[in-house]
Amino acid sequence: MKRTLAALIIIGLTAVQIPALINNLYSFELANGLKVFLVPEPNAEYASLLVYHLTGARDEPAGIQGASFLYQYLIYQKTENLEAGDHFLIMSKTAGAMASRINYDYSSFYKIVPDTEINTVLWLESERLRSLQLDDHILDQQKKLFNSRIVRKRGGSVENRAYNWVHAAILQGTAYEKHLYEDAGNLVNADNSDLLKLYRNFTDPGRIILVISGRFAIDELKNLINRYFQSLPAGSRTRPVTFFPAEPRREIIFENWVEADLPYNLVVIGFRFPARISHDQVFTDFLRYYLIDERLSRLDYALNQANNLEARINNDLTDYFEANSFTIQISTRKRIQLEQAKYVLNRELEFIQGTPLKSQDLRAVKTLMELDYLKNLSRPEERSYLIADTFHRYRNLGHLESHLKRIQRITAFDIQRAAKKYLNRDNQVILNVYAE
């Protein structure tokens, strides 16, 4: 009887066709709205589970900013059947690994264990979703701990402060202007009932996507999923979300800082890059590879090989749906080297905007982008994330296949156009940090 019921609850197990990229991808939805994707790998000996929440920092009301970030520290607290910290201990005994990503647009929790422990991870996650016991005492304690962590992060290095400043300037006027935990210090005074209200988003099955990979028997797994997740009360039916891509900036911003006891000089140059839902995203991704990726290292070549400036280069690209910040950070020991480095960088940027890339450069970058994408699809964590994220953005998985085709079809003119649009002076934020 129970089995029949389980079969009824699962609505239409369907094989999703992503030929050549992901073999045997199945999906179904529970009656309460929880969406499940299964990627069986019979030759493997692991099982992985991604719980992807269609909720993130952008859902935080005023006054409790940083609450989503705090949530990742609360998931190990007491539940109906677990004491605080048990979750972590159980995972460590399986030799498994855990990872979490908290973003403005989504939050995700990933676990990988031996295949024999699939039951354990499903149960652990269902405990979190069903019965996480967050009372005032725990919340107050965790808010204080969280605050001290944030103070440590914010009071960090000059590089961090500089990066945060540039990031905020690039994304000014978008949903992402403030850093994820910029206002989290105020969380200490937040009303716990507001936090608990927000955390209901995390238990809403209509806002959850499960992606399970590895070795398992599909029928047994379906029964386990039913056992652990069908009792979650039905939440909101997810409506297709509409995202609005932001346009590039129209005015350059300059700032200079002088810092005492700094053993080097530093410049952080930021650009507003397109939304992840934008068609231009694949072209700007190409530009990032071309300029910064250490396997190609165009910028490293220009600064350190051609001009011998002994510059250290770092970069960062955010992962937001509607607008992104791409920052390049260059540091040198001498100030004159930094000025030369900025000159060289500007020439490189002007060159890409003015001249179509050579076919060999185009081919080299496209090969790396393709390889990285295929490697990601071979790794359970990245693949699970790509499946959930693609479904979140487009409500179908066709994009997984078409993304590879889009990489293959990139032309030099696409890149030149994207460079003109996103690397131009008006779309830049420049912060110089000089040693006193």
């Binding site: 050549a20 990229l21 073999n23 790998e41 030759n43 493997a44 000996e45 692991y46 992985s48 972590f88 201990l89 460590s92 005994k93 399986t94 030799a95 498994g96 690994a97 990988i112 264990v113 031996p114 295949d115 024999t116 422990e117 290095s157 590895g214 053993p263 396997r295 190609l296 290292s297 490293d300 070549y301 350190n304 090989q305 002994e310 250290r312 080299a364 090969t367 790396l368 393709e370 390889l371 990285d372 295929l374 490697k375 699809l377 071979s378 790794r379 359970p380």
Partner: protein, 473 residues
Amino acid sequence: MPNNKKTNKTIFGAFIAALLTMQAIFLVGNQVHSFKTQNGITLRVIQDQQMSFIHAQVLILFDFSDLPSSHFTPSIPEMTVFHLFAKEIDEPSSPLLRNLRRLGGDYQLEMKPDFLRISLNFPNDRLPNFGAFLKELYNYNHFFLKKFNNSLENYWSIFFRQENWKSILAERIGYSFLFPDQPLGWCFTPYTELRQLNLFHLRSFYRNSFQPQRSKVIIKSNVNPHVTLGLLERSLHGSGDSESSAITTPTLSPQTPRPDQHRKIVFFAGEDSEPPLFTWLEPLPDVNHPDHLAHLTIHQAIFAFPGGRIYQQRFNRFTARAYQFTSEVIHHRGVSVIKHQTMINYPDIEPLISLIDQEKRRLLAQPLDRREYLEAVNYFLNKAKVSTADFEQEVNNEVFQFIAGFNQPFNKWLPTMVRKLSPEKTNNVVAAILSSGKDNLQTDLGGTIVIIGNRDPLIRQSFSFTVEWIRQD
């Protein structure tokens, strides 16, 4: 009152039964084809129909037989590899790097004292380019004086630009102190001594080491193994000598250094503002030794987070601050080395060392109990299963076999070793280690500790132990 002994026996019996099942499971996997090319390369092709690109690894075991016995010798293998592969000094452009670029440029080098591992990923249609790369690897003829001088000039500045330079440097410094008179310890040269090298040293080392017979190539993808062999044979035609003698392995000590050797604590004083990197290195018997797994079990029981003994003392400052060690076993022929690393605050350096020593000594008074033993062994077995998620894992196992001179596949070795082990055997190993170093028990427990941090706070800390200093300049 429950019969604990009986319960434990039942658990242990169930555990052994589970192991036997696991061994059967370990045999599942992709098909592996073994070949020897005409010029002597050992080739493995792992046929994986799910893979949409090629993952390959090339291993070169170094030959130290012709190296001069001199204080600058350590830099010869490192500078040879740097000369061959550093993009920053590739002027005039070498065909070796050109071939790597043609493959797509997605490669990584791992340099250890006794071998070089090149890991590559490339599209399936570039397999012929891979053959061309191998040919160039064994026939490199691009040793130029200008490039060599550039290598010497820029080596350290390029080294410090690597993201994980601290970890690499800590390991090298540690090896140079752990194995001071053996090739395994020839991996760290102070800046000033690089100047005593000449191009001839590099060329000579290259000729001896970069031989097909000293190499293993492993390819994993959805490729036809015989077509792959044919393509590589065609590319490699005429390179190398099929009649060359078999590998003469590096002259590593077959004996594991004993823990009663005096421990060294080394500070590398730099300019970095991050918290210091704490690295604990200790030699173990190699994988062919019956006690290898017992040693790993002991380390697991002490260092594993959060169940290890160093985290069990209530309110100790390491639990509170959650200094989580990452551990790695590095295999060589004749010896393995276990490496534990964590970032740490300056004031905690001395207490951490004392705590680890204290917990190691306590093993005599309070041997591993069955729970600790089972948790450690289960961890190894589970870890092996979780690692099947990595597409590189099967290739890594082949590499491990070749490096360690090991005569059975890793996936068979682990369950076999586990079946031969018991808590009693593990505790006998503990007793043997600690009693052999009895005289030093109050002072040190062997191994080498390397701390890479900023010179100012390091100097300001007072330590009760003797420290060796290396300065960045």
